[in-house]
């Protein structure tokens, strides 16, 4: 069976079994190893990617379900290996430690921001609740997403995080 969809804006045509995991298609067929496998059963979120604006665990999504859709992975966040505003905020706030949850965390953060999410701590905690991190205690990840979500800062220079909507 042939499936056609887009990955990071580029068209893809894959001839694979329909139940092949999107995760394997990305990592093995398309050599996009930025997306990680942590548990293989949808508990950890390390394999999170964005499909048509929705964050999904790519270990639970068969390729047949993304036929005709648009998939974004960590490699698609910014071109040419540079860092986008969210990635830069992670770097500056210490949001990445061992880095293995980071690609998935970035996808959850990106979807949250693209959806109009505000730099409000509780909302961010909710948005990344499906992504496990064992290194950071989440504090600096929340700070980073809040900084990137802040509408008041200029692009490329994340503003301070807010823990309170009224702040």
């Amino acid at each position: 069976m042939t499936y056609r969809f887009s990955v990071n804006g580029a068209p893809v045509e894959l001839e694979v079994p329909g139940m092949r995991r999107l995760l394997d298609a990305l990592r093995e067929d398309l050599a996009l190893t930025g997306t990680k496998e942590g548990c293989g059963e949808g508990e950890c979120g390390a394999c999170s990617v964005i499909v048509d604006g929705q964050v999904v665990d790519s270990c639970l999504v068969p390729v047949c379900q993304v036929d005709g859709k648009s998939v974004t992975t960590v490699e698609g966040l910014s071109p040419h290996g540079s860092l986008d505003r969210l990635q830069q905020a992670f770097l500056e706030h210490g949001g990445a430690q061992c880095g293995i949850c980071t690609p998935g965390m970035l996808m959850a953060g990106r979807a949250f921001i693209d959806d109009g999410g505000a730099p409000v701590e509780d909302d961010i905690r909710e948005a990344i609740a499906g992504n496990l991190c064992r290194c950071t205690g989440y504090t600096k990840i929340i700070d980073a997403i809040a900084a990137a979500a802040s509408p008041t800062s200029a692009a490329g220079s994340p503003a301070p995080p807010q823990s309170d909507p009224a702040a």
Binding site: S6, Q87, G137, S157
Partner: protein
């Protein structure tokens, strides 16, 4: 399967340079976190998906490896049957007799085989290996293997175990006289179970045969030279033939300290036989079922005090469950024993520790390394004494805490960098401990009175069903290796100025998220007066870097970082002496003219730090880190559920080389401790872990995580050139007892066994039968044979396993460990 189109690869080989490694400019960031410190060296690669972890590495033609594991806890291996209907020439199949060197995983005690030869000693023990050219063949082959075994009696309860891995004893003063003098004696037994490290990247290793007959392994690991040593012995290789290369490593926490050695040997055995690279990538289920956990422990504690709060005697017995093989257990027990008294001066102390063998998977290193278990018990005792005397737990600690010149139970005089008092005050003040404690006490009193005057008013008030509490705990953590460990390690770190003027740090210290690759260049750049970008890190490859010892025991910044600084000072002096001008201006010319320079700096014993392994007396550690945590919780009185609202942690780490990274360690360690306190528990039946999946072994999510406020305190240690005492483990030692104290403050009940689950809290609140003790396997009834009773505590067997088929399943690991 064919791939007809590929999207352009956007990630590797960027056209534009990666985001610069630089400190944010003034005004770029407003609030505090991103300060003027070097940004994480490998951060950009981790953030844009180009960092290569083991499973991301491509070796064309690689085969897939798999481990056949035991399904018995204790048994005689009679034989291995291979289904004759399968064409075994399609795969490589290896057993113990195929191990060319000694069949053991070299560590401390020579007891753990690479593959079982005769006696299976724990569930999920490696018995045979298979490699196949593709996953489908591998899947098929592994279902055609049957282990023929004869069950042997198994030991699960450490109190019934007869084999001892290690024991230690410390005595100070006259304990019996101390208890005679005591006006109040508080006793307690505290039990903690297994905890999984739960790095998000599973264990992974790829072995590649070398032209010289040896093998190179690329893997997720903490200690390249532990693996190097183990490979040499098991595979009968020379030092040059065994090469260990660290890939990007997705977390370790001790879980990749010793276990990667056995995976490396397995992968290497297969690769040498196949003649091609072999990938040994564990999935989460196999990683949880087979690899090491934190040691369960039973701590019996007696504390004798006077009515005025004077501490007069401590008597502590520590029993740790090592599992089936020794691994690092003697050292874990030693650290646990040395920390068991807590950071308090006491005239009469007796601490006995022993670690025993059970037929459960071996336990090993995990952040804190024995200290979280015993310090939980120690802090529970302090809080219970305060409760019994009607004193503030803060005031009691103010009286007891070690001060300069005090003597520990091992006879060590604390000569410097003693900051228990400071972290206590800093955390208590920031968390407003006494003010909130007075509030929660008032609420509890009103609730108790309402309860006494008739239940209706209680249920009518919504806020009464949830109770707020605050708790405090204090900890110390010995810096670096225990006892004479650092002297025996004699680590080497090197600094190189190459002939092309490149400055390179050569150490075996690995980056696993804690920041090695950022702080070493930072330390060197500071010493040499050059920009941090001018300092490179050599890869963690045993053919390139010297043995700097393992990346464990919070020793990297303190010990290896100290060596790196000393090497940089020597390099600067030599270059400046030769050129007569500042290093930064002259080193490139010096290098191109003189052909470069290499400084090898070896660890020398810290002055006046002496520990006698024979008598177990002396300076157990050259210095100590100190930490205080204050936790606030809400307890749902209907469900017993605990929400940890906030933790304030003040940590004296000597010197915060890089405050953002150090805070990251405190925040992460604190959350692991909160998980340990509230939700993380491995349940066992027949010596097998039951919740060996991420769906059933829970760790805190962002919604479970409290707000964590980290206060870094700096009391430098004179033996380290920068004063650092390490930060990795200290924050793990202290919060569990603070959380349980907060649960007590909220509810009035003490929980002695971790984790403080809703079941344990409700049992304590309502005086009903608690769930089974943590850390001890139950024995499932067997059909056809005499059913052994459940353990001696009379704990029920039912309701243990989240999966309905498991407790009576005679072959629980059917279809195991699919890759």
């Amino acid at each position: 399967m064919t791939v007809t189109t590929r999207p352009p690869r956007t990630a590797p080989l960027p056209e534009a340079p990666l985001a610069p490694i630089r400190a944010p400019e003034a005004g770029e960031t407003g609030l505090g976190r991103a300060r003027a410190w070097p940004l994480r060296r490998e951060g950009p690669a981790k953030l844009n998906g180009t960092a290569l972890y083991t499973d991301d590495l491509v070796f064309p033609g690689a085969w897939y490896g798999h481990t056949i594991r035991s399904t018995d806890a204790h048994a005689r291996l009679l034989g291995i049957d291979l289904d004759p209907s399968f064409d075994w020439s399609r795969v490589v199949f290896l057993t113990a007799k195929d191990v060319p060197g000694e069949n053991l995983v070299s560590l401390i005690t020579d007891d753990q085989p690479v593959l079982v030869d005769d006696e299976i000693r724990h569930h999920a023990e490696p018995v045979a290996l298979i490699a196949a050219p593709d996953r489908e063949t591998l899947r098929e082959a592994k279902t055609r293997v049957t282990l023929r075994t004869e069950p042997l009696p198994a030991v699960f309860d450490p109190l019934e175990a007869t084999q001892e891995f290690a024991h230690f004893a410390m005595n100070k003063g006259d304990v019996d006289a101390g208890f005679e003098q005591a006006e109040v004696v508080i006793e307690g037994t505290y039990r903690v179970g297994h905890q999984e490290q739960l790095y998000i990247e599973n264990n992974a290793m790829i072995a590649v045969p070398r032209p010289d007959g040896g093998v190179t392994v690329h893997g997720s690991l903490q200690c390249p030279y532990y693996i190097h040593k183990a490979m040499k012995r098991a595979l009968a290789l020379s030092g040059d033939q065994a090469v260990v290369v660290q890939a990007e490593t997705g977390g370790g926490f001790g879980g990749k300290e010793e276990y990667p050695s056995i995976i490396a040997i397995h992968a290497a055995l297969l690769a040498l036989r196949v003649g091609k690279p072999v990938r040994m990538i564990y999935d989460r289920h196999e990683d949880l079922a087979a690899t090491t956990k934190r040691h369960p422990a039973i701590v019996n504690y007696r504390t004798g005090v006077m009515r005025d709060g004077t501490l007069v005697a401590q008597d502590v017995e520590v029993i740790m469950d090592g599992g089936a093989y020794s691994t690092l257990t003697p050292v874990v027990l030693s650290r646990g024993t040395l920390h068991a008294g807590g950071p308090y001066v006491c005239p009469n102390v007796r601490i006995h520790g022993r670690a025993v063998a059970t037929n459960t998977p071996p336990n090993g290193a995990f952040r804190g390394f024995g200290a979280p278990q015993t310090e939980f018990a120690a802090e529970m005792q302090v809080n219970r004494v305060a409760d019994a005397l009607g004193m503030s737990p803060l005031d009691l600690r103010r009286r007891w805490v070690y001060r300069l010149g005090d003597e520990t139970p091992s006879g060590q005089i604390l000569r410097e960098s003693v900051a228990g008092e400071e972290v206590l005050e800093r955390a208590a003040e920031a968390a407003e401990f006494e003010r909130i404690r007075a509030q929660t006490a008032g609420v509890r009193e009103r609730r108790d009175q309402a309860g006494k005057s008739g239940g209706s008013s209680v249920t009518s008030s919504a806020d009464v069903r949830s109770a707020r509490g605050i708790g405090l705990a204090l900890a110390w953590h010995g810096a670096g290796f225990t006892g004479s460990g650092e002297v025996k390690l004699a680590s080497v770190a090197s600094l190189e100025l190459t002939s092309v003027g490149q400055i390179r740090v050569l150490t075996a210290s690995t980056e696993m998220g804690q920041g090695t690759k950022t702080i070493f260049p930072q330390l060197v750049a500071e010493q040499l007066g050059v920009p941090i970008e001018a300092v490179e890190m050599a890869p963690q490859d045993t053919s390139i870097v010297p043995d700097s010892g393992p990346t464990v025991a919070s020793r990297t910044a303190m010990v290896v970082g100290g060596l790196v600084i000393k090497a940089a000072r020597k390099m600067r002096e030599q270059v400046e002496t030769a050129t007569g001008s500042p290093f930064a201006e002259s080193y490139q010319a010096f290098a191109s003219k003189g052909g470069g320079l290499r400084i090898d700096e070896q660890f020398e014993a810290y002055p006046n730090v002496v520990f006698d392994d024979e008598t177990y007396r002396g300076d157990a550690y050259p210095a100590y880190g100190w930490a205080c945590a204050v936790a606030e919780v809400d307890v749902d009185l209907d469900t017993g559920e605990v929400t940890t609202r906030s933790v304030v942690s003040a940590d004296d780490i000597g010197k915060a080389i890089h405050p953002v990274l150090a805070e990251g360690q405190v925040e992460g360690g604190t959350l692991q401790a909160v998980g340990y306190a509230t939700i993380e528990e491995i349940k066992l039946a027949d010596g097998r872990y039951l919740n060996d999946r991420l769906a059933t072994y829970l760790i805190p999510t962002s919604l479970d995580a409290p707000r964590i406020e980290s206060i870094l305190v700096e009391n430098p240690f004179s033996g380290a050139p920068h004063g650092a005492k390490g930060v990795g483990e200290l924050p793990m030692d202290v919060p569990a007892a603070a959380v349980v104290a907060a649960i007590h403050d909220a509810t009035g009940v003490w929980i002695h066994d971790l984790p403080a689950t809703p079941e344990r809290i409700l049992a304590a609140l309502h005086g009903i039968q608690p769930p089974p003790l943590p850390g001890i396997s139950t024995v499932a009834p067997r059909s056809g044979t005499e059913a052994p009773s459940a353990d001696d505590a009379g704990t029920p067997d039912e309701g243990l396993d989240p999966r309905p088929d498991a407790p009576t399943d005679p072959q629980p690991m059917r279809g195991p460990y699919n890759e």
